[in-house]
């Protein structure tokens, strides 16, 4: 009797172990199931490269190039802000900060990671957006740069915590060797610690960027949502994620618009999949 019970439990454990694979495949299949239908009416190059996104005009124009460029612009801005600050902060926490301050700073970073994106979006709307509007003398503060600044704050916790782990996992003897040779602390960090942890730091940057590309609510609330090809960072843009979130509510199930939004979802899924697999290879390679 006990044997039977344990047999069942162990099978359950095994099946649950496979659950993650099952769900990733399930997500991909259901995105494909709904999203691929759009290519009955529009070719793949027209979908990716089309300049116009007018999903509810007759006939619908479903080019997602403005959305891709919008996502890229916001992400690029966020990366430029968050990478130097994030890595700098990681070095400070891992190497420079005294022990008590270190714990405090880590808690602060965790706090930032925990703030829901809709709350950050709200704060951005009421503080950052009017600020951007007034310093650049713009008709609206809902611009790509507002989105970039806010998203940089969502990327930073990821970058800081993974880069800090990478620095922490550099063998102690590397550091001791450099210091014993007469290098200053900074020279040791710059010439020994950073190169030794470079693959982990690269993974940190990639995962931070992955977080930015996938971010939805904050970006929808503060980038203005204009589906046009962006020419400046001081202009409203619309990202891939915001398009899905803003339009799916109105799209009729089974319509071309509905299928097109799922196809946008496939694009996002593929991007995040590529980023996560690459980052994992960097992290995994380093552990060896």
């Amino acid at each position: 009797m006990r044997k039977v019970k344990e047999f069942i439990i162990e099978k359950l454990i095994f099946l649950s172990g496979l659950a993650s694979i099952f769900f990733v495949v399930l997500i991909f299949l259901f995105l494909m199931k709904e999203g691929l239908s759009v290519f009955k009416t529009i070719s793949f190059p027209d979908f990716i490269g089309g300049n116009k996104w007018y999903p509810i005009s007759e006939p619908a124009q479903l080019g997602i190039k403005p959305l891709i460029l919008g996502s890229l612009l916001v992400t690029l801005g966020a990366a430029i802000i968050s990478i130097p600050i994030g890595i700098g902060c990681a070095i400070y926490i891992a190497e420079v900060a005294p022990k008590k301050l270190k714990e405090f700073l880590k808690a602060g970073i965790e706090l930032l990671a925990a703030i829901p994106s809709v709350v950050l979006g709200f704060v951005g709307m009421v503080t950052l957006v009017p600020f951007v509007k007034s310093i650049f003398h713009l008709p609206t503060g809902l611009t790509a740069i507002s989105g970039s600044i806010m998203l940089a704050f969502m990327a930073m916790p990821t970058i800081v915590s993974i880069a800090e782990d990478a620095l922490y996992s550099v063998p102690k003897i590397y550091k001791e060797g450099a210091l014993a040779l007469g290098a200053t602390h900074w020279q040791t960090i710059y010439r020994v610690m950073l190169p030794a942890s470079s693959s982990g730091i690269l993974a940190a940057v990639m995962l931070g960027i992955g977080r930015v590309i996938g971010e939805t609510m904050a970006v929808m609330m503060i980038t203005g949502n204009a589906a046009v090809i962006p020419t400046s960072i001081l202009q409203p843009v619309r990202t891939l994620t915001a398009t899905i979130a803003a339009e799916m509510g109105e799209a009729v199930v089974g319509s071309e618009h509905y299928f097109a939004l799922f196809a946008v979802g496939i694009v996002l899924f593929v991007i995040s999949f590529a980023i996560n697999v690459t980052a994992d290879i960097f992290l995994h390679g380093e552990r060896k």
Partner: protein, 283 residues
């Protein structure tokens, strides 16, 4: 020469400090602003009343209840599966290709954009299983989303139980499952709890996955069953700050404060448990 290298170090450390402050100070400001401007709006009526006058007055009670339902549903789904998956990875899996693929799948599940979870929930639960926009659909979607958090935290907790504990139990004649249930799990419980609470916090704060699977724009009554739509705090904050014009600032900030307080409170509990655990660890 010596002086110059030390000056370089001083300058470099100064910039590192500046980078750190550029993160920490805005976080502090964000939290302080929300508390300062949100507190005046918070009173018993705000927490216990339904929204009135097109959400420009009254309270946020249905949104709080909706979020509690959703989070409970998500955890009820994700905790058993996540815990068993963690047991598999820490106690049963061998160092082979399958394990590698499972770990990669967990990483990917954690990286899927939240709005894509929303699409997935819509396609699978709302449309394919015909659950409609309901608490059930929303909970399941959120549950899958927090699964990687629970698996990762539980696995770390299980793996941190020393191997000798297992050996002693096995050598006394206990079976593998008895060892896991009576020895490994009790010693890993705080770590598992921490992960569960962090998952709860994440589920409570997410908006995009519930947009098309459950969230109701305005629903002045409480949901009656798991097949009902419900309001939820994060979506409500989104609605009153972008979709409804002329909502009093007090209500917006008040809602943001309640949501932030719930999420941060859960994180605080998780941090405290982790701290206690580290202090009393015997091995």
């Amino acid at each position: 020469m010596m002086k110059k290298t030390y000056r370089t170090q001083k300058i470099a450390f100064f910039f590192l400090l500046v980078a750190t402050l550029l993160i920490v100070i805005p976080v502090g400001i964000i939290v302080v602003i929300i508390i300062q401007k949100g507190m005046p709006g918070i009173n018993w009526e705000f927490l216990s009343d339904i929204p009135r006058k097109g959400m420009r007055a009254g309270g946020i009670f249905p949104a709080i209840i909706g979020t509690i339902y959703l989070v409970s549903g998500a955890i009820a789904f994700a905790l058993p599966i996540g815990l068993l998956a963690a047991i598999y990875l820490s106690e049963y899996s061998k160092d082979n290709l399958l394990t590698r693929i499972i770990k990669l799948a967990i990483v990917n599940l954690a990286g899927v954009p939240s709005v894509v979870y929303g699409l997935f929930g819509l396609a699978l639960f709302v449309v394919f299983f015909k659950f409609g926009a309901s608490i059930l659909s929303g909970s399941l979607t959120l549950g899958i989303m927090i699964l990687p958090i629970i698996i990762t935290a539980s696995r770390e907790a299980l793996e941190s139980v020393p191997y000798s504990f297992r050996e002693v139990s096995l050598s006394l004649g206990a079976s593998k499952w008895q060892t896991i249930r009576n020895i490994v799990l009790p010693n890993a419980i705080s770590g598992i709890l921490t992960g569960t609470i962090l998952g709860l916090g994440r589920a409570a704060g997410e908006t995009a996955p519930i947009l098309f699977t459950v969230a109701a724009f305005y629903l002045p009554r409480l949901p009656q069953s798991i097949f009902d739509q419900a309001m939820a705090l994060p979506y409500h904050l989104y609605v009153i700050s972008t979709q409804v014009p002329n909502v009093d600032e007090k209500i917006r900030y008040g809602t943001a404060l309640v949501l932030l307080a719930i999420v941060l409170f859960m994180n605080l509990i998780a941090i405290v448990i982790r701290y206690q655990l580290r202090k009393k660890k015997k091995w």
